[in-house]
């Protein structure tokens, strides 16, 4: 199961996979193994040696002496099908999103460009570091949604790609 969880205005992409006796929780590449026991008023969660007792009320979670404001969005049952997930199926059109905010320093493709998996679509610069946004699979660029020089937010669609075999080059 995947969803977006906002805690105190800080957003995380969460992936939860049930395993025997608990869950594996992945947050942007970090991995935690948790055991959870729901009670009437609260849930006991154990991660490693740490024990957490949580009360969830309305849009707030009360954890120890702290209150956190929560929001859940984009719940999906599929595994690995979200934003950075592996696309499936020929002909599927997938949106490629930026993983960080930054300035578009180069757009390397245009609508109609045949691309291979891993080929650079856009180069984004943030904090003096350049990051290449690669094609998630072989296919054809349907649309490029950003322009060079533009400053974009994280999670913005930069291009969409129709999956399929690229033309022989």
């Amino acid at each position: 199961m995947r969803f977006r969880l906002d805690v105190d205005g800080e957003r995380r992409e969460i992936e939860v996979e049930p395993i025997a006796g608990g869950f594996v929780i992945r947050i942007d590449g970090a991995t935690y193994r948790a055991r959870a026991r729901p009670h009437a008023d609260f849930v006991d969660v154990r991660i490693g040696a740490k024990q957490y007792r949580l009360r969830v009320q309305g849009n707030e979670a009360i954890l120890g002496d702290e209150v956190h404001r929560l929001r859940i969005a984009d719940v999906s049952e599929e595994r690995g099908a979200g934003i950075e997930g592996r696309p499936t199926g020929k002909g599927a059109v997938v949106d490629v999103r930026s993983s960080m905010p930054g300035r578009v320093v180069r757009v390397a493709v245009a609508a109609g460009t045949h691309v291979r998996r891993g080929q650079t679509l856009v180069i984004l610069e943030a904090m003096k570091m350049q990051n290449e946004i690669p094609a998630p699979g072989d296919g054809v660029v349907r649309q490029v949604a950003v322009a060079e020089g533009e400053t974009i937010t994280a999670d913005r669609v930069v291009a969409s790609i129709e999956l399929g075999a690229p033309a022989a080059s």
Partner: protein, 509 residues
């Protein structure tokens, strides 16, 4: 002494310079780009001036805008901090032409030290050992190949006009040389407007140590070395002083060499000479003609305020200390806190800091450019703060650093604190066995699985939401069974929502 100082920088270093300048009774003028309208460094100044758009080239690097701000605010001196215009001889020259005192070296000494080949030659002439290599720019791949064959692989291409580790490229085999030559040239051209390269022998498992120097027109002081071997992609991450790899006799030779070398360049003000240590030998690496990021560790072990000395030297008041008066106590270490996610290959993580809490206690110094509610813009360096600790010896310093990392809470952007936590656990680091490629060689970041206490709490919240079926039920939750007193909840909610960005979401009862 001048009365009005313009600080041509942002973030932690602008705040740090203002701290000392204000103590000296100097009126501080800050500058800010459009992206820094709400930045913390503005609050540290007596007044601030807008200098242009968010991109560095439109503001902090824009010489005409910075000089205009200095004129409009009647500044009589400019402190450049580090980065941006700090090592730009054109800027230093323009300041002089406009009657502004530049707090830094004279422009010609800066130009000499900024030209890597010229600096190598000057040092060699003064009898300073330099790394094997060539003292001319390489015109062709063939020439590079001939030099590499002569000095032996691995070799390192360096940009003549380079700095900050940019434009360096290591070559292990003759087959890789041509491609590395072309790519290093294009990187150098893009970053420094000059494609010229030279070549040095690449030293495996070398330590990077450096000596801080202060020079006025009469006297000079060299400080105990700083060890800066913990780097990633030539960017320093942890610095400490003294170096666990330098003994007394090497130390005095390094200090003597650094002071002599800088004086030979006609240098004045604060500068640093970097060396590589290899097989018990030291060779000159480069000169940094500015105040450095890691200067606080030197301040902690010697009690000397380096910014104060910089300002005094620039104002013609001279050094307050001499080499023989200099004393040293204990061991200091700095961890650079960058807005980068070490779990995702140090992906930049700009954004808004929703909660910020610093470690405290004796021997803990934080030089920070952010606080709760600060926005970390994507346009600038990822360094947001420096965690610096000082104790009697290296072992205790590591312990205090570990404790301080645990107590440092920064939420809203990812930081490299989990990397530091892991590094400080490593046997090699604890034993003081340090070398410049250790972060990559030991795959320190690759072993990270979790980000720390706060992210674990997010995981616990996520687990609780899934286990209780809240996620499956949809995006919002019905309010049910308020077992906490309603008044308490109302109070908390008001405090959470009422104060805008300045309110920390963490609440104590």
């Amino acid at each position: 002494m001048f009365r009005r100082l313009l600080i041509a920088n942002r973030g932690e270093i602008a705040i740090r310079v203002a701290r000392t300048a204000r103590e000296m009774g100097v009126h501080c003028i800050g500058v800010y780009s459009e992206a820094d309208r709400g930045a913390l460094h503005r609050a540290a100044m007596d007044e601030t001036v807008a200098i242009g758009g968010p991109l560095p080239a439109d503001s902090y690097l824009h010489i005409a805008h910075v000089l205009q701000a200095a004129h409009d605010s009647h500044a009589d001196a400019i402190h450049p901090g580090y980065g941006f215009l700090s090592e730009n001889p054109t800027f230093a020259t323009r300041c002089a032409e406009e009657g502004l005192v530049f707090v830094g070296p004279p422009p010609d000494a800066m130009a000499l030290s900024g030209d890597k080949i010229a600096a190598r030659k000057s040092m060699a002439r003064l009898g300073v050992p330099v790394t094997a290599g060539v003292d001319r720019s390489l015109e062709s791949v063939e020439e590079a190949r001939a030099v590499a064959a002569e000095i032996g692989y691995p070799v390192l291409f360096k940009a003549t006009a380079g700095g900050g580790g940019i434009g360096m490229s290591r070559v292990d085999r003759p087959a890789d040389l041509a491609a590395a030559f072309e790519s290093a040239r294009s990187v150098a051209l893009a970053n420094f407007g000059n494609a010229d390269l030279f070549m040095e022998k690449y030293l495996r498992r070398a330590r990077h140590v450096e000596v801080q120097v202060l020079l006025d027109s009469r006297d000079g002081v060299g400080f105990v070395e700083r060890e800066c071997s913990v780097q990633r992609r030539h960017q320093k991450l942890v610095e400490e002083t003294p170096s666990p790899g330098v003994g007394r006799s090497l130390r005095s030779r390094l200090i003597d060499t650094a002071v002599r070398g800088l004086r030979g360049l006609g240098y004045r003000n604060a500068g640093t000479v970097e060396f590589l240590l290899h097989d018990g030998q030291y060779t000159f690496n480069e000169v940094n003609a500015r105040l450095q990021v890691e200067h606080p560790i030197t301040e902690l072990v010697t009690g000397v305020d380096l910014v104060r000395q910089q300002i005094r030297i620039a104002a013609g008041d001279g050094l307050e200390i001499s080499q023989s008066e200099l004393t040293r106590h204990g061991h200091a270490m700095e961890c650079r806190v960058n807005a980068e996610d070490p779990i995702r290959n140090f992906l930049p993580s700009p954004g808004r800091i929703v909660s910020y809490r610093e470690p405290t206690g004796s021997g803990v110094r934080i030089d920070s450019g952010v606080t709760t509610g600060s926005v970390v813009p994507p346009y600038y360096d990822p360094l947001i703060a420096k965690l610096i600790v000082h104790t009697r010896n290296r072992g205790e310093t590591i312990q205090r650093m570990r404790r301080s990392i645990e107590a440092y809470e920064i939420r809203g952007v990812q930081t490299n604190l989990p990397f530091h936590r892991e590094l400080l656990r490593r046997r090699e680091f604890v034993h003081g066995d340090l070398w410049t490629t250790m972060v990559a060689d030991l795959r320190i970041a690759a072993r990270l699985r979790s980000r720390g206490p706060w992210e674990e709490r997010v995981a616990a919240i996520a687990a609780a939401l899934v286990a209780s079926g809240q996620v499956a039920r949809g995006a919002t939750f019905p309010i049910e069974r308020p077992s906490v007193a309603k008044w308490a909840l109302v109070g908390r909610r008001e405090r959470l929502e009422g104060g805008g960005h300045a309110v920390s979401p963490r609440r104590r009862r």
